[in-house]
Symmetry: C2
Subunit: 333 residues, 2 copies
Amino acid sequence: MKKGHQSWVFESKPVIISSAAVGGPFEAKGAIAEDFDILHEDIWLGQDSFEKAEKKLLEQACEIAIEKAKVKKEDIGFFLSGDLLNQIVTSSFAARTLSIPYLGIYGACSSSMEGLALASLLVSSKAADYVLAAATSHNSASEKQYRYPTEYGGQKPPTAQWTVTGSGAAIVASKGEGPKVTSATIGRVIDMGISDPFNMGEAMAPAAVDTIEAHFRDLNISPSYYDMIATGDLGALGHRIAGELLNKHGMNIPPEILTDCGLLIYKQDQPVLSGGSGCGCSSTVTYGHLLNRMRKGELKKILIVATGALMSPMTFQQKESIPGIAHAVSIEM
Amino acid sequence: MKKGHQSWVFESKPVIISSAAVGGPFEAKGAIAEDFDILHEDIWLGQDSFEKAEKKLLEQACEIAIEKAKVKKEDIGFFLSGDLLNQIVTSSFAARTLSIPYLGIYGACSSSMEGLALASLLVSSKAADYVLAAATSHNSASEKQYRYPTEYGGQKPPTAQWTVTGSGAAIVASKGEGPKVTSATIGRVIDMGISDPFNMGEAMAPAAVDTIEAHFRDLNISPSYYDMIATGDLGALGHRIAGELLNKHGMNIPPEILTDCGLLIYKQDQPVLSGGSGCGCSSTVTYGHLLNRMRKGELKKILIVATGALMSPMTFQQKESIPGIAHAVSIEM
């Protein structure tokens, strides 16, 4: 492996030999529904709590990824997963079910690419032949924990985003067929003083820009290297701000290249305010939709820049601003 | 690097070139007070919240470790940290201050060794020359979040443990002087059905045993290889159960070798019930006391088996049992 400041270049090119995406009812009505392996009409997934529903969602995504990879569960060296629930219990309880040596991670919605970056590092450094990486969120479990009970029906400003009910999982292997992970850039925490939890996009946009700039500086390539650069879940407002910031920094990424997972997942007429968010956003969009497009030959080189807002309801109450982070992973066919 | 199932053998032997431990008033009265770099008489550290106090604790441990290592902050490739607060905000907010590319991790009290294992993997795989690993907990911040406000003065059963107010940090480097990280074993989640949050030791003991067995199986060595095997924070009861379980599995580790960080940190007459716990327990005991003993030549080979209880107050309320995990790291002088 070659290192470049905050980036890792995987010369052995770990392969994503399989991936899976499982979603809920809102995602079933979304713009990329066909790219989900399972779509649940029931937000409860037949469980008696939203949290148990989220665990089932994650377990299903992992099981499908394992099945598609045609490997035995026992051959998977490590399971890396993160989610939004306190103490990332969704991931940990799914790890109990899977019984694969487990590394819990947390980077809010950036957990998807933190997991894929570390999984690729593990494979690349020969720590394992197969690593399972996943990230998950559940709209109602998140709303209940972060905001108000869903039954309360509280109104939100248009800058708010809609937490995706979805789990994405991928198996990274030392060899095999599929899209390859070629590099990763680990982000720094950036905080521009935004403190409105209903405007995460604006809070995270500077972190996305910081990581994108670091990626191109470290790898000494230009944005035109990629067919698509998809930020994690900045939503409409954050996406616009990120584009403006990049321009200001002299990095003009054409609109046909720069997009956002939070904009890709839902249809324009769905009531999702500024777009999708949550660990399940970038993970299902990447592991479902985007990898499918790569497998079909529609995309050759993509950079996923998953963003995370590293606050908690408590830090908000204590009047702290929102620290943002973004981790980028480059995938090539 | 060589792999052995769920273990990593670091042939390049990453070095812990510096480490630091910062503690609070209870730790100042404890059994290993002299091994702390700073001990605060004020549980608030002059801050207006327990959470801000914990952040300061972590920042101090990191700053001291960086200072001792005589490296520039800019030369540290990555910062890995975990804690017990929801959304690991202590770690993320300290990462904002440090401005080092950041990987958030969560394994409850096992976060200390999850961080050291991953930091060593990063250094060993040449992803960075210097990596900062840390873990932290604060008694009052934890009590407030997990149990009752401290002012409430709720009574606890003798099986309960005392969350350490402490932060431990270490800098792992590709070369230099100091104790070397030789291997790591990543644990599976083990759940034996214990659901009493005031009896974490019993819930975590089987996970510690599972990881210890995996370590010796993967590395094909016997417990006598080590001068000391210290579990993370099982406390008195969990320590006894772990010893019994190991015996039952035919692995007789002499009592002078098998110990527990939760038993080492406080004096026998301190009112800490079954012993210390929290991410700050194994991190301060290891990065302060045990590494100091290694540097003095008192210990040559140690295995730290940090244990974590992967539950949340919500999973308890939903009547779930407590999943345990343990990650082991071998350090040799």
